[in-house]
C-alpha cells in the first residue's frame, strides 16, 4: 500500500475553522485514522467538499490511507453527480446532509464495482468541474509529493504560515494550498465566506492570516475593495494563478507588495500537472510584469513549433511543454481507466501558447484549444455548445469570447434569458459571465463547420 502523503507528527494547530473549532495535528491524525477505519484501502470515494473541517478530514484520511477520492463541489448539480456515480461506481460518497456529513454507500454490488485502482493512483479531479464533462485527471502519490515539495521550496513555507481559504478544495489550486501547508505543519484557516463578506475579513484579521491565493477575478475584486488601503500587518504573501492576470493589476499588486514588504507571486499551472508548473519570483514581480515566471524547482519548460521541433531562440511563440515529476498519469473517461498506469511519462504538452524572453522568463500569449477561464474555472467552448444544443434542439449556437466573459450567439432571440440561466446553472458560474446574443445565423463553411473568426465577437 502507498505510504501516507502527510506526516501529521507536528506540534501545534493544523486547522482553525470559522465556526471556532481548532484542531491540533495530533487531533487531525486521530480524526483521519477514525475516518479511514470505516473505508477499506483502494476504495473509490466521492468527497463532496467545501472549505470545512469535515471535508478536510476526509481528504487527508483518504490520502494517508490509500483511499482514492474524487473531489467534487458540495454544491454539485444532482444530475451531474448521478452521472459521475454511474460512470465511476464509487464505493462510498461523503456528503453533507441536514445532520452534518455522512458516509453513504456508493454503487457497490459485486458485479458492478469499479476495476482495481492503479497502485499509484492517489486522487481524481475534474478537468473543468463545470460543463459536466465526466473527464477526470488522475494524480499519483508521486505527483502530489513532488509538486508539494516544489511549492514548499519556492514559496519558502514553514510552520508559522497561516493561509486562509479563498478557493475551493475541489479545485487543484485550492487543494495545493492545503497540501503544501499541511506538509510543513502550518495552520490552515478554513472559511467558506468570500472576500466580499465582512465575516471573512474579521476572521482574516483575528487569526493573523499570512497568505491567500486568488484567481484573476479575485484580484479585480480586491482592487474594487481598495485592498491597498487595508492594514494587514500579518499578511506576507499573495499568490495568483488560475488564468492570466491583467498586466495593470499585476503591476498594482506588485507595487503594493514592494511598498508594504510583502510578496506577490504570479504562478501558472494546470490540473494535468497536479497544480503548479511555474512561479514568478516575487523579487522579479515588478520588472517582469505580464510574465508567469520560470519553471518550479524540479520542472523544466520548453517551447515547440507546429512540427514539434524545439524553439531555442527567445521571443518566438510556440506551444509550451513541461517536464517534471508532477505531470499526472493521464485522464480517465470511464471506470476502466482507473486501472491505467502512467500515460504521460513526465511530459505535458500544455495546449498553451507562450514565449520566452532573453532572461528565460515565460509569457502566456494564447491557447491552442477552445476554452475560456471563467473566474479561474476552465470552461470548454465546444462542450458548452453541445450542452446548449442538447437542451435547446431548435436553435443553433456558437460560443466564443474572452476570459471571464463568454459570448454565446444563438439563432432564437426569444431564448436569450433561458440560455443564460441554463449555462449559469450547468457551469455553476455566475450568470453575468455569459453574454447571450441573438444572431440571424451562425456563420459556417461549406462543410458545416462554424467560422468562429466571423462571429461579431467584439
Amino acid at each position: 500500500m502507498a505510504e501516507a502523503v502527510f506526516n501529521l507528527g507536528f506540534d501545534g494547530v493544523a486547522v482553525v475553522a470559522d465556526d471556532g473549532r481548532e484542531v491540533s495535528y495530533a487531533d487531525l491524525k486521530q480524526m483521519t485514522e477514525e475516518w479511514a477505519a470505516k473505508v477499506p484501502p483502494r476504495s473509490l470515494v466521492f468527497l463532496l467538499v467545501g472549505n470545512n473541517l469535515d471535508s478536510l478530514v476526509a481528504y487527508v484520511a483518504c490520502l494517508n490511507h490509500g483511499i482514492v477520492p474524487l473531489m467534487l463541489d458540495a454544491k454539485i448539480d444532482g444530475q451531474l453527480l448521478q452521472r459521475f456515480i454511474e460512470i465511476y461506481r464509487p464505493d462510498f460518497i461523503w456528503r453533507p446532509s441536514s445532520e452534518g456529513y455522512v458516509l453513504e454507500e456508493g454503487l457497490r454490488t459485486s458485479d458492478f464495482r469499479h476495476p482495481a485502482l492503479f497502485e499509484d493512483l492517489a486522487l481524481l479531479l475534474t478537468t473543468s468541474g463545470s460543463t459536466g464533462s465526466p473527464k477526470l485527471v488522475r494524480q499519483s502519490y508521486k505527483n502530489i509529493k513532488a509538486n508539494t515539495a516544489s511549492i514548499v521550496e519556492y514559496l519558502r513555507l514553514d510552520s508559522t504560515e497561516r493561509p486562509i481559504t479563498t478557493l475551493p478544495m475541489n479545485y487543484t489550486y485550492g487543494l495545493s494550498i492545503v497540501n503544501s501547508h499541511l506538509t510543513v505543519g502550518a495552520t490552515i484557516l478554513l472559511t467558506e465566506k468570500s472576500i466580499m463578506q465582512r465575516e471573512f475579513w474579521n476572521f482574516f484579521t483575528e487569526q493573523g492570516t499570512t497568505s491567500f491565493g486568488g484567481v484573476p477575478y479575485t484580484y479585480e475584486m480586491l482592487d474594487k475593495l481598495m485592498f491597498f488601503r487595508r492594514k494587514l500587518p500579518s499578511l506576507r504573501t499573495m499568490t495568483q494563478a488560475g488564468g492570466k492576470i491583467l498586466p495593470t493589476l499585476h503591476q498594482k499588486f506588485a507595487e503594493y507588495a514592494k511598498r508594504e514588504g510583502k510578496n506577490f507571486v504570479v504562478m501558472y499551472g494546470q490540473c494535468e500537472a497536479t497544480a503548479r508548473m511555474s512561479y514568478l519570483p516575487p523579487e522579479r514581480a515588478l520588472d517582469k510584469v505580464g510574465s508567469m515566471g520560470i519553471a518550479i524547482p524540479g520542472g523544466r519548460f520548453s517551447l515547440i513549433d507546429v512540427d514539434g521541433r524545439a524553439i531555442n531562440e527567445p521571443d518566438i511563440t510556440g506551444e509550451l511543454v513541461y517536464d517534471g515529476a508532477n505531470v499526472t498519469l493521464g485522464y480517465a473517461e470511464c471506470a476502466d481507466d482507473l486501472s491505467k498506469g502512467d500515460e504521460r511519462h513526465g511530459r505535458l504538452v500544455t495546449g498553451d501558447m507562450a514565449r520566452r524572453d532573453t532572461d528565460g522568463f515565460y509569457y502566456i500569449v494564447g491557447r491552442k484549444k477552445r476554452f475560456l477561464k471563467i473566474f479561474g474555472n476552465r470552461v470548454n467552448l465546444d462542450e458548452t455548445e453541445r450542452l446548449i444544443k442538447g437542451a435547446f434542439p431548435d436553435l443553433d449556437c456558437a460560443c466564443g469570447g474572452i476570459d471571464d466573459k463568454m459570448k454565446i450567439f444563438i439563432t432564437d432571440e426569444t431564448q436569450v434569458q433561458s440560455i443564460r440561466d441554463f449555462v449559469a446553472e450547468k457551469t455553476h458560474l455566475n450568470f453575468t459571465a455569459f453574454d447571450v446574443r441573438p444572431i440571424v445565423s451562425i456563420p459556417k463553411n461549406e462543410s458545416g463547420k462554424t467560422l468562429y473568426s466571423e462571429l461579431p465577437i467584439s
Binding site: S194, Q197, H428
Partner: protein
C-alpha cells in the same frame, strides 16, 4: 422611478430575480448572489444612485434590508 424602485431594480438586474423575491434576499441565498454577483450588485447601485461605495460598506451589504440601511445612513438616499 422612486428610490426604492431604483434600489430594487439594481437587485433585479444583478441577480436576474423578480422584484418580489429580491426583497427577501441575503448574500448566498441564491447562486447568483456570490462574490461575482456581489460585484455586479455594487456596480448597479453605484450607477443607479451616482455614488461610489466605500469598501467597508461593500462588505457589510449582506442583505436587501442591510443595503437599504447603508444607502440611507451613509449615502443620504431616502426611501
Amino acid at each position: 422611478m422612486t428610490n426604492i424602485e431604483k434600489y430594487t431594480q439594481a437587485f433585479v438586474n444583478a441577480f436576474g430575480v423578480d422584484a418580489e423575491s429580491a426583497k427577501a434576499l441575503k448574500y448566498q441565498d441564491i447562486p447568483a448572489w456570490d462574490s461575482v454577483g456581489h460585484m455586479g450588485l455594487i456596480a448597479q447601485l453605484e450607477e443607479q444612485f451616482g455614488i461610489m461605495m466605500e469598501p467597508d460598506d461593500i462588505v457589510d451589504l449582506s442583505s436587501f434590508e442591510k443595503g437599504k440601511d447603508i444607502l440611507a445612513t451613509k449615502y443620504g438616499v431616502e426611501f
